[in-house]
Structure formats: C-alpha cells, structure tokens
C-alpha cells in the first residue's frame, strides 16, 4: 500500500479539501472552469519510482488512470505538462455519440456514455451530463441508407436507435429546417457533457483510488533498456517505472520521437473550428438533441441557451507539421472566412439562428490518424510502452471505452474485445513521415462526414510502396487500392472501356466494375490469370540447429515438422486460442522457414514472433518482404504456362498441391514456385527475387497468350476466396476467434504431443463445444441489380432472432449469388452463450439484414465441393488460407 499512502500525501493539501467539500456549481463557461488539482510545482517532489507512468492529463490520460486504478493498480503516476485538460479536451465540443463507423468504436462510445453518467454520482463533481439524444440527418437517399446500415449495426450492440421521418425531426428539434431532409437516425442514448468537468471528475476519481497526479511536469523522453520501459525522464527528475502510457494527444508524435528508441505514433493535427452563440431570445433547451448533419458537414448542440456548432470542412488546415508547443494550442486564431461554408450549412439547417448573436469562434486543434481510427495498444518492439492517442475528434466519445480497453490490455495482456482495427501495430514506421501524415489527414478530416460506401480507398499518400511491375500493370488499365502503403490492383479496366468518375461511382448497389471483375473471375476458372500479390509480408526464420523449428512448433497450431518443400497453413494463436496471425509457412530446408502473412501483419506478426523468440544468436528472423515479387498464377492452364517456361512437368502428379520448389522460370533461376493460390483454384504462387520480376512477368504473359492469360486484381481474388468459404485474418478472423470456431480443427496438431500456444484453451473448447461458429450464408431472393449489396457488419437473424454478424461478403460469379461470411453466436434465454452444433445451424431459417431490409439466406458450414476443381491432393491440404483483404 505504499503507493496509496504516497499518493494521499502528494495530493492531500490540494485535492482532498475540495474533494470532500462536495460538488461545486457547474462552471458557467466551457473554458472558464478553474482547475484545482494543480500540484504545487515546488513543494511536491516526484516519486522516484512507480509502476505505471501516464503522460497526458486530458480526458484520455485520466480515463486510463481511472480504469487502471479500478483494476487494482497502485503506484500510478499521471503527468501533465500544463494543467489537466489544457489541450484538446479543454476545447472539445462535449458530444458523446455512438454513431461511429466501426462497431468496436460504437461500443467504446456506448460505454463512455454509461461511465460519464455515473461519474457525477461517484465523485460528486458535476459533469454537465445531459442525455439529450442525437439526430443524424440525411439529405439524400444514399446517406439515409448509410444511416440505416448504422442502425442495424447498433441494434446488434443493443443500442436503441430509430430511423425516423423528417416530420419527427421537426418534432424533436423545432429549430431544424426539414425541407431538404429525407430522413434521420435518432439515437436517444447520446449525450452531451462539459468535457473539462468530465476530465476533472475522472481525475478526482482516479486520485481517490490512489493515482498521483502532477501538473506542470513534462516528459522529456522514455528510457528503454533491452526492449523494456525502465524509466521516464521529466523536466523535474526521472521516475523508474514498468509501464509507460503515451496519452499526449497532439504531442504524442514528438514524444514518440524524443527517446533513444523511437516510437512511431502516426498522427497529425488539424485546426478545427466551432461557433458559440449567445443565448437565443427563446433559449435553446439543455436537452434538445445534438444535430449531426453530415451532408452539410456540421454538428450542433445546445450550449447555455445558445448553440455550439462546428464541422469538418472539405479543406482542412493541417497544423504543427514542424512541431508544436503548449503555447500555440492556446493561441489559435479564429478564421471566419474558413468557417463560412459551415456557417452557411448551419443557417440552412436552422434559419432561425440568423438573428442570434455570436459569442466566439473557437479554434480547437484535433489530431487525426492516417485511417480515421485511433491508435491504441502496446508499441511494437518496446514492452511496457503503451499508446492511446489520435482520437480523430471523437476523443470524448472514445475516452471512456478506450481507457477501459487499454487498462485491461496493460493488466491482462489483451483487452476484452477485439481492437485490431485500432491497434497501433497496424501501422509501422512507414506511416510516420511528416509529409505523408500532413497530406493524409487533409483527406481524413473531411472523410469523417463524407459518405462512405463499400470499398472506398484513400486517395492521398499513395504510391509509397509499389511492386516493380507497377508501371507495367498501370498501363494495362490497373485500378489501384492501397494496403499498408502498398499499391495493389483491384481490377483491370479493358482498353476502350471507361468507368465512372470516382465521385459518381459511389454506390451501395451494384458497382460499375461488376462485369470487369466477372470476366477476370471467369478467366481464373477457365484459363489462367496473373495477380501481382507482392504486398504480402514475408519473413525468413533460420537457425543453426533446430531452434527455428522449435520456435514455430510453439507458435503455430499446425505441425511444422514436415518434409522440406511442404507448405503448411497455420494460425499463430494466443493463450486463449485466438488467431494472432494466419499464415503459410514453407519449410525451405531443415532449419529455415519462409513465413507468408497478410500485408498488414508486417508489424504485428514481427512483434509477435519477436516477443516469443528466445534471444539466441543462432536463431535469426529477417523481414524479406521487399526482396520478393509475388505473382499468383490462377487457373487450370497455369501448369501449362509454367511447364513451358521451365521444361518441367507441373501436373499434380509431379507437383502436388502445397509444395514449394526452387526452379527456373524463363532465364531466371531460383524462383520459389508454390502450388497454392490462396483462392482454392488450381495454380501457383511465384516468389521472384525482384530483379527478375519484370522478366518473369513478361515471359509468363507472352507464353500465356495462347492459353488466354490476362491480368486480374484483388476483387476477383476476393470473390473466388469468399465463394469457397476462405476466412481472412483481420476481416473474418481476429484474436478472439479460435480454429475450432471457424472449422479449422484439421489444422491443429491435437494428435501430436507438442505443446503450442493456445493448446490448452483449444482442448478445453473441444470438450466444451464452441459457442460461435463461422458460417457461409448464400443470399436467396437478392436481386443483384436492384437490391443494396451486403458489405460486412450486417446482422444475421435465425428464425427471426438476432444471432450474429457478417464479417465479409462478395458476389460469387459461379453461384450467381451473394455470399456472406460471418459468425453465429447464439445465446440461451438467460443471455449466456449457447453451444453451436451442426444440427443447430442446419435447422434454422436465416436472414441477413442489409440496411434494414432482411434477405433470406442459406447457412452452410462447409464450402460447395463442386467449386473445387478436381486435383490430386495431400490428405489434409484443403487449402483454406488466404490473405487478401476486404
């Protein structure tokens, strides 16, 4: 209890009196509230050591401190360079809304609302919490459709919401002009708070649990020894610690760069403006709902009888590219000319405000990340260095839930929900260029309120990583998407055919590339196609003795002790049996392995292997992603093309499935040819040292001509893999999914007596039975031409009851139907998870809810065997792995 005693001593003179004397009247102004947790900078010396040091006293930092303390941690120190909540928190608009693009984000927001609501009771600090509800307005049918999709997603989470008519909007908020609306989404649970007061309440609650808070203390850098956080250097001395949490908001990037070991925290600031008005002649009620008019790019809430309204403009102003300091954030200039489009939108939405007087235009910088999602989790390579920043202007909505997840992460090693989309390990060094960030956030900020249709891509910060064939493919009509900075072809537009412009091609219905991809799929089925799949993450693990095999046997669920030349599809599981990675491992020689993982696993997989790798100088892991160009030859004629180029018979008799050989292709020698395609179609993957890439490609294309060869893209690949029920890590599989839940028991070495990570959990699950199951749903009665297409995240109903959510979907050109993949997780009547059996799945009527409309579907546990071309196989090699993304 040393920590507890210590903290009370540190805080007693300043905090306790206020804290005991109860709530103070709610401050009249958002910004006027006096902070009183200030530690006297002279008298209160920093402790010499702590377990956790949190940098940043904004809403996020205090939330992490609060949740850590709740989980029983002691010796927590929170450092703030200025005063608590002096950064973005001080200025933010105070809206807590669950209308977020990702389910996990909605979940965090939902938790935040519950937390903020009970804070006042818990601490006695008034937080200004009002459950005002919110209205997301739709000015057009596409927007309404996206709101309906959001509504069906929220229903899965148990959040109450209603799609309502414009007339109902007018009833809920009389100031709103509804003439140009087609509908709205009403979220009665959404709330408004006073952010500095919530911040303060969290600080008070944390302090009550023993967190020591020091203001006016800046972190200079974090000391890392042997890959572990050991201490934090501040301007007032150093603190030894085991864990460090970077919640420094706008300053997080620089804090990450300040240490000897650099941490990439890819975020960038943008100016953000909102308007405060004086009270209206008829004051706006405190509980009038928050308005979110995404088509007008604005939001508005009631504020002291007047209105607070801001927006996310099309032409944001990035700031602090060259660095920043505390002073700057407090002296941001107002820019009315810049605000004009938002003001126009506001007056159009609420014409009654014209006569309302202006209080202030606030410029409140927000930090944004390259993909519009926050950055959470342990940084790769440094144990004990956690990050929670980059809130993309939803800091208040996320802070509660995100703080809880991060606290769990620090405590248990993982959070209680799958947060891979928010995991900082989805980014690497390659996303932390200042120029890249500056350009990307200028796209990200407007995107917050832009209509997001299936398969949109970022347009900025592109062409960072490309295959050597990029130009060659581009001239042949390739259209590109980006994954982890790598350009990948989506499809190839034939010469003479034009697609719609990017803006016009946005649709929730049948897209304009439908026939193009159809032709590519057909070619894969009947002839042969080439797909450049160079973006894969490729590692080589070698050792002098059998250390490499030992390590992989421990990390991988499948048996790696196979003859040289065999390819093994395997998951890398965590203790809970969940997939940390799903990869293909090739045994190149007795003691060297080639590991192929999904593109965005580059950082995560590296740190996962490194984490479990003994420090043995004879064991060597190398990232060789950049050394190889990968060409995927898919189709029945792939073997003909290759044998012509190598003078070797490539028939299944001579080259069975899931084998790897080094051979020559054309003039180039040393090409790793693997008999797998990640689609279930016959064909080969060619791993080509990049200097040979162009040669091999040219040879393949010229020899392939007589077999009808053509280029194909990832959309064709995706359609092929989904119709064959192949799950994809990051989309379908996550760290909470076990092989048993997705029908991959045959890829687990239960029969061997080798221990591996997750074995115990899997054995237990095998006995208890699974409570969720990956299924394939084939949509019936869905008109491809006229109905809204599924994407992912659609609720699944069984016999009219909500039972699961889809994780990916594609149109199967072979079945001529839409196929959705997803998980069923039934519950008993008391809400506890129920076991799923084949019988249970087969005896049910299923429906998939796409934007509020339910389509009947057939659920299947196994793929259509008719889709697999007849090939000679190894016993267990049903190739069920794939890495292509959404």
């Amino acid at each position: 209890m040393r920590g507890g005693v210590c903290s009370i001593r540190a805080l007693a003179p300043v905090l306790l009196p206020r804290w005991l004397c109860g709530p103070r009247a709610c401050p009249a102004h958002l910004h006027g509230s006096v902070r009183f947790l200030s530690t006297d900078s002279v008298s209160a010396a920093l402790p010499a050591r702590a377990r956790v040091v949190i940098c940043g006293g904004g809403i996020v930092g205090t939330s992490v401190a609060y949740h850590l303390a709740k989980l029983g941690w002691t010796e927590i120190v929170l450092l703030e360079q200025g005063r608590l909540g002096a950064g973005t928190t001080r200025f933010c608009a105070g809206i807590v809304s669950v209308a977020k693009p990702l389910s996990v984000e909605s979940k965090m927001a939902d938790y935040s609302i519950a937390l903020y609501e009970r804070l006042e009771e818990e601490t006695g600090v008034k937080t200004g919490f009002v459950r005002s509800g919110s209205l997301c307005l739709a000015q057009n049918q596409d927007r309404l459709l996206s709101l309906k999709r959001l509504a069906s997603r929220l229903k899965v989470l148990g959040v109450s919401c209603n799609v309502i008519k414009p007339k109902d909007v007018a009833r809920l908020h009389p100031l709103v002009n509804i003439h140009d609306l087609v509908g709205a989404l009403h979220l009665p649970g959404d709330s408004v708070v006073s952010p500095p007061d919530v911040n303060h309440a969290l600080a008070v609650a944390s302090a009550a649990h023993g967190v020591q808070i020091y203001e006016h203390t800046s972190v200079n850098h974090v000391v890392v020894k042997k890959g572990h956080v050991t201490a934090v250097e501040t301007d007032r001395g150093s603190i030894e610690c085991e864990y460090f949490v970077n919640c420094a908001g706008q300053w997080a990037y620089e804090l990450g760069q300040s240490g000897e070991v650099k941490v990439s925290v890819p975020l960038h600031g943008c100016e953000h403006f909102y308007l405060l008005t004086k009270p209206l002649s008829e004051p706006v009620q405190n509980d009038s709902p928050v308005l979110i008019d995404m088509d007008g790019r604005i939001y508005a809430r009631a504020w002291h009888g007047g209105i607070l309204s801001g927006g996310f403009e099309k032409n944001p102003k990035p700031i602090f590219t060259e660095g920043r300091n505390q002073l700057e954030i407090q002296n941001m200039q107002e820019d009315w000319d810049h605000f004009e489009p938002m003001l126009s939108a506001l007056l159009r939405r609420m014409p009654g405000l014209e006569s309302c007087e202006i209080q202030q235009l606030v410029n409140c910088p927000e930090s944004f990340t390259p993909d519009m999602r926050c950055l959470m989790g342990e940084t790769p390579g440094i144990y004990g260095y956690f990050v929670l920043v980059g809130m993309n202007s939803s800091g208040l909505s996320f802070a509660g839930g995100a703080g809880k997840y991060l606290a769990e992460w620090i405590t248990y090693g993982y959070p209680s929900a799958s947060v891979w989309p928010l995991d900082i390990k989805r980014f690497g060094n390659l996303q932390s260029s200042r120029t890249f960030l500056r350009h990307r956030v200028m796209e990200v900020m407007p995107l917050l309120y832009e209509l997001k249709v299936p398969r949109w891509d970022f347009q900025t910060g592109r062409q960072l990583r490309t295959s050597p064939l990029y130009d060659r493919l581009d001239t042949q009509g390739a259209r590109w998407m980006e994954k982890h900075g790598f350009e990948r072809a989506k499809y190839f537009v034939p010469a003479g055919k034009d697609l719609l412009a990017l803006d016009q091609s946005k649709t929730f219905y049948k897209p304009d590339w439908f026939d193009i991809v159809g032709a590519e799929v057909k070619c894969c089925k009947e002839a042969v196609c080439v797909i450049d799949m160079s973006s894969f993450t490729k590692f080589e693990l070698t050792s002098a003795g059998d250390q490499a095999l030992q390590l992989l046997q421990r990390l991988c669920a499948n048996d790696l002790d196979v003859p040289v030349g065999h390819i093994v599809h395997t998951g890398m599981l965590n203790q809970r049996g969940g997939y940390e990675n799903d990869c293909s491992v090739v045994r190149l020689s007795k003691n060297s392995f080639f590991i192929i993982s999904p593109t965005d696993q580059q950082v995560h997989c590296w740190s996962w292997i490194k984490k479990h790798m003994p420090s043995d100088p004879q064991l060597h892991l190398e990232d060789v992603s950049w050394k190889y160009t990968a060409l995927n030859l898919i189709g029945p004629r792939a073997m003909d093309v290759l044998s012509e180029l190598s003078y070797v018979s490539m028939t299944p008799e001579h080259f069975p499935s899931l084998f790897c050989k080094e051979m020559s292709v054309g003039y180039a020698n040393g090409i790793r040819v693997m008999s797998m395609t990640h689609t279930g179609e016959p064909g080969f993957m060619l791993y080509i040292p990049i200097e040979y890439a162009l040669h091999v490609y040219n040879e393949v294309m010229s020899v392939g001509q007589k077999y009808g060869i053509r280029n194909a893209g990832y959309y064709a690949l995706r359609s092929l893999r989904i119709e064959k029920f192949f799950a994809f890590w990051g989309q379908d599989l996550d760290s909470f999914t076990t092989p048993l839940e997705c029908g991959r028991e045959f890829r687990v070495k239960f029969d061997k007596d080798t221990d591996f990570l997750g074995r115990d959990a899997l054995l237990r699950q095998r006995v208890e039975g699974v409570s969720r199951r990956f299924v394939m749903l084939v949509l019936e009665d869905h008109d491809t031409e006229l109905d809204v297409w599924p994407w992912w995240g659609e609720p699944i109903y069984r016999n009219g009851e909500l039972i699961g959510v889809t994780t990916s979907s594609a149109y199967s050109y072979t079945l001529q139907r839409h196929v959705c993949l997803g998980f069923l997780s039934p519950t008993n009547t008391d809400g506890s998870p129920a076991a799923v059996t084949a019988d249970f799945i087969n005896r049910g009527d299923y429906e998939v809810d796409i934007a509020g409309q339910k389509f009947p579907a057939k659920a299947k546990l196994y793929p259509f065997s008719s889709l697999f071309a007849q090939q000679k196989r190894r016993k267990d090699d049903m190739e069920l792995s794939n890495f292509q993304s959404k």
Binding site: E334, D337, E340, L343, S344, L347, L353, C356, E357, I358
Partner: protein, 526 residues
C-alpha cells in the same frame, strides 16, 4: 474634371457613332503621339478608374456601359482570359544551380497588355552568364516602339559587359577576332511574342564590341564595374550609341530607318539587377519598382525602390531647372510635361529633346523622306532654347536582400496609373499566399445572419486562383476593379473589348514583371 468632360462627350455622342466620331480624329490625334502631344493628356488622365473624384467615377461607369449595350462589346470570360493571358510568361529557377550558392530568385512572372497597336512597352529578362546575377527590365516606349525595342534587346548586354572582368572581356575579344564562337553573355528568358530586330543584329554586336574594346583599353576596368556603376554607365553608353547610330551612314535603308526611328522615338527604362549582393534598380523615367516585404508578424508592406521621374517629383523638376537658365524656368515644365510635350523627365532616345535643332534638321533631311513615320518628328518642341533637355542617366538604388523581402514588382506606368504601390503589393502577396489579406473578421456585435452575409461578400470579392500568373493577377485587378474596390467582371470585359483606337484613351500599355525572391537566400548569404 477632364474625366467628367470626356465622359459627357462620350455619352452624348452615343455608342453607335463612337467609331465614326473618332475615326477622322486619327489624323489629328494619332494614338502613337499620345504620350508626346499636349492634347491627349486629357485622355490620359481619364484613366480607366478615377479614384479621386466620386462623381466623375459614377459617370465613367455609365460611359463604359453605353458602348457595350450599343455595340455588343462584351467578351465572355474565356475571351477575357485569352486576351489577358496572351503574353503571360513564367519562369522558375532551380534553387541550386550547381554553380554557386542558392539562387536569389526562385521565379519570375511577367505579362503585358497592349492599349496601343502595336504595343509600345517592352520587357526583358536574362541571366548574366559570365557574372552572377539576373537582369529584369521594363521599357515603356513612346512615339512608337522602335526605341523600346532597341533598348530592351541591347541594354542587358551593355550592363552585363560592364560588369565583366578584364579577363573575360579579353576572351570575348579573342573569340571575336579569331571567329571562334563567342562565349554566351546572357541567357534570355523570352516569351514567344517577344522578338528581336534581326536586321540590325550585326550593327548591335559591332557597337557592343566597340564598347568592350573601350572598356579593355581603360586602365581602371580591372575586375569589372560594380553593379551601380555598370548600370549608370550602360544606360548612358547605350543612349549615346542610339544617338550616334542615327547620325552615321549605315549599310542599308532598313537599318538606317531602324536607327533613326529608335533615336527619335523614346522610352523609359527600369532595370533591376538581382545578384548575390542584393538588388540594384536603375530607373530612368516613370516605370516603377516596388518591393513586397512581409514583416515577421505576417503583415505586408510596399517599399518603392525607384522615384518616378515626372513633374510630380520635385527633386527632378529642380534638377532640370538647374540645368537651364533661370529665364526658362516657366517654360521647361509646362502642363506637367517637359517643354509641354513629354511626360517622363528622363528617357532613352527622344533626340528631339537632346540634339540641337540643326542636327535634327539635317538628319531628318538626309534621311529617307518616304519614311512616313518621320513626319511625326518634324514638329520640334516649343521653346527649344538650350538643349539638351533630356538624358537617360538612371537613378540607381541598392537594396540588400533580407529574408522578409519576398518579391519585386517592376511595371510600366500603365499599371501605376491604375493602382498604388501598396495595392500592387497587397494583390501579389494575396496571390502568393493564396489567402485573402483583407483584415480578418472579428465577431464584434454581429448576429449570425449579418456575419454570414459579410463572409459571402468577402468570398465573392476574393477571386483567387483565376490567374496562376501574378503579373496577370495585377493586370486583371488594375483594369477590373471598380470604384468600390470590387472586382467587376463586366467592367473588365468592357475595357478589354474597346476597339484599338479607343483603348488608348482608357488605359495605357501595361507591362508587369514580378520577381519572387528566395527567402532562404538571404538567410544563408548573410
């Protein structure tokens, strides 16, 4: 009040008769003489925008609309842009050229718009290849374009040669002598509409060679002249050469006519030399060079680097008075003009203000009298008692470049008639930074509706990104800004659509060159 008169005149004549009204008058008031004849001075001061007098401005507006309705002068936006951009030029320089430190100039943008037909303004831009530095000149011709043309293509050579060291000049001379290729002296940046007098090229080279031979012969030339001396000396030398060429017999008539026209016509010149040590501006006449300075707080100010040599310049008037007997004091400057005729008080050419009456007479008589243009020069200025009255010696100012010096605007008086130096700097700065530099709005005591209206007005007023070229931006605003300081598309269309004989009454030829400095240059250089 002249503006008022003129506008009344135009109103009463009515649009339909406008052309016929002015057509016969061409003999009396040929537009080429505008600069030098006393009468058209009324037309001159009736500039396209009267800023001092509100009432006449209002009338001016009416006049401009009258012809449009009657004659359908209106141009479309595309046509306007085509007219404005015909002479656009924009050249960027690499920051490091590999020869030496960072380049002081990042790029320059230039444009010309003619009111006279043909255009009488000239411009030139070139890099000195043998010495470090760039030359930018604006030349405003009068009495024809001959003088401006000759000066624009020759003056940079004279300046460059003056600055060359003895050894480089010796190389030149040796190459010339042995018929080897002569090392290039200048790298020109020309627009496709800029041209050279081809027929006189040989003559020009010869005279340039004579000049450098004299420099070689002189004792103290050594490492070459400092920019200030070089500019002064080159101006004087070229003016002398122009004058001599008109007096000596030449190989053919064409060359001779060219020489005589160049000498009898005139031009003012403003030349900036931007070198490692800073900016030297030499000015003779009423072109102007203005430096755009951005202070540390982000505000902009204009720093003129030249004095206009016209009757408004007291020092200049006194200088002329000093050079002539006191008895002439009331005769030298009449109606704000030199001898009641010439507006600029310094100029190249214009030998009618430099030679004795006898010399003028003899040259004109010996000349080919079928040269119709020469008839114009038969009128000697009145009260021509103690010539010369005019010289081409420039006034040179030196400015050392600081990081806050962002650009230099060189423009002929056609621009400065329409706007002040401050306005020009504001416009270019706005164009450069892409933001509107009107005072930022603050929310004092406005309601949302009023604020909204205000913002919309400001948006409408700002016409950013219409022109990529800063010089075009200036010209567009010079002509299109109305008396409420707003961009007025209709007004611009009308002004540009004026037929050539009318155009000269509303505007002068405009030449603008904007030179953008490298802010890193002065940081590293100092």
């Amino acid at each position: 009040m002249s503006g008022y008169l003129c506008s009344r005149l135009l109103l009463y004549t009515g649009g339909r008769h406008l052309t016929s009204f002015f057509a016969p008058s061409q003999h009396v008031l040929p537009d080429k003489l505008c600069r030098t004849c006393p009468l058209p001075c009324h037309a001159r001061s009736f500039s396209s925008r009267s800023r001092s007098d509100g009432s006449s401005g209002q009338k001016g507006e009416n006049t401009l609309h009258a012809p449009r309705r009657e004659l359908d002068f209106q141009l479309s936006r595309l046509q306007i842009n085509a007219v404005l951009r015909a002479n656009e030029q924009s050249v960027s320089f690499p920051e490091f050229d590999g020869r030496s430190g960072p380049s002081p100039v990042l790029r320059f943008e230039s444009n010309q718009l003619s009111a006279n037909t043909p255009l009488e303004d000239r411009r030139s831009s070139a890099s000195c290849l043998q010495t470090r530095g760039m030359l930018f000149g604006v030349f405003d011709g009068h009495g024809g374009h001959a003088c401006a043309q000759a000066v624009s293509e020759r003056l940079p050579y004279y300046i460059a040669v003056s600055m060359m060291s003895e050894s480089v000049l010796e190389d030149l001379e040796a190459a010339m002598e042995t018929l080897r290729p002569v090392p290039p002296i200048l790298q020109w940046y020309k627009h496709r509409n800029d041209y050279n007098y081809r027929e006189s090229a040989a003559l020009y080279v010869n005279h340039l060679r004579v000049y450098w031979q004299e420099l070689l012969a002189s004792e103290e030339h050594g490492d070459g002249m400092r920019p200030t001396d070089a500019l002064i000396y080159a101006f004087q030398r070229l003016d002398t050469d122009l004058s001599l060429e008109a007096q000596v017999p030449l190989a053919n008539d064409l060359m001779r006519n060219t020489a005589i026209q160049a000498a009898f016509a005139g031009c003012t010149a403003c030349v900036a030399h931007v070198g490692p040590e800073g900016v030297h501006v030499a000015n003779a006449g009423d072109c102007r060079a203005v430096l755009g300075v951005q202070e540390h707080d982000g505000s902009w100010s204009a720093l003129p680097l030249t004095q206009d040599h016209n009757a408004a310049n007291v020092t200049e008037v006194e200088r002329i008075w000093r050079q002539h007997p006191a008895s002439e004091q009331h005769l030298v400057i009449v109606d704000d003009r030199l001898l009641g005729v010439l507006m600029p008080l310094r100029a190249f050419g214009d030998v009618r203000f430099k030679w004795s009456r006898e010399l003028q007479q003899s040259v004109l008589e010996n000349g080919d009298s079928d040269l119709e243009a020469l008839n114009l020069y038969q009128y000697a200025p009145p009260n021509y008692l103690t010539p010369p009255y005019l010289e081409a010696t420039p006034e040179v100012t030196y400015h050392r470049l600081r990081p806050q010096d962002r650009f230099l605007v060189l423009a002929s008086d056609g621009l400065w008639d329409e706007m002040t130096s401050d306005e020009a700097v504001r416009l270019v700065a706005e164009h450069l930074t892409g933001i509107h530099l009107q005072a930022p709005v603050s929310a004092s005591q406005l309601n949302l509706g009023q604020m909204h209206q205000l913002l919309l007005q400001r948006r409408a007023r700002a016409t950013p990104a219409l022109d990529l070229n800063g010089a075009t931006h200036l010209i567009r605003h010079a002509l299109g800004t109305n008396e409420y300081a707003e961009m007025d598309q209709e007004r611009l269309a009308t002004i540009l659509a004026l037929p050539s004989d009318l155009a000269r009454m509303y505007r002068d030829d405009i030449t603008v060159t904007v030179i953008y400095f490298n802010p890193n240059f002065s940081k590293t250089a100092n």
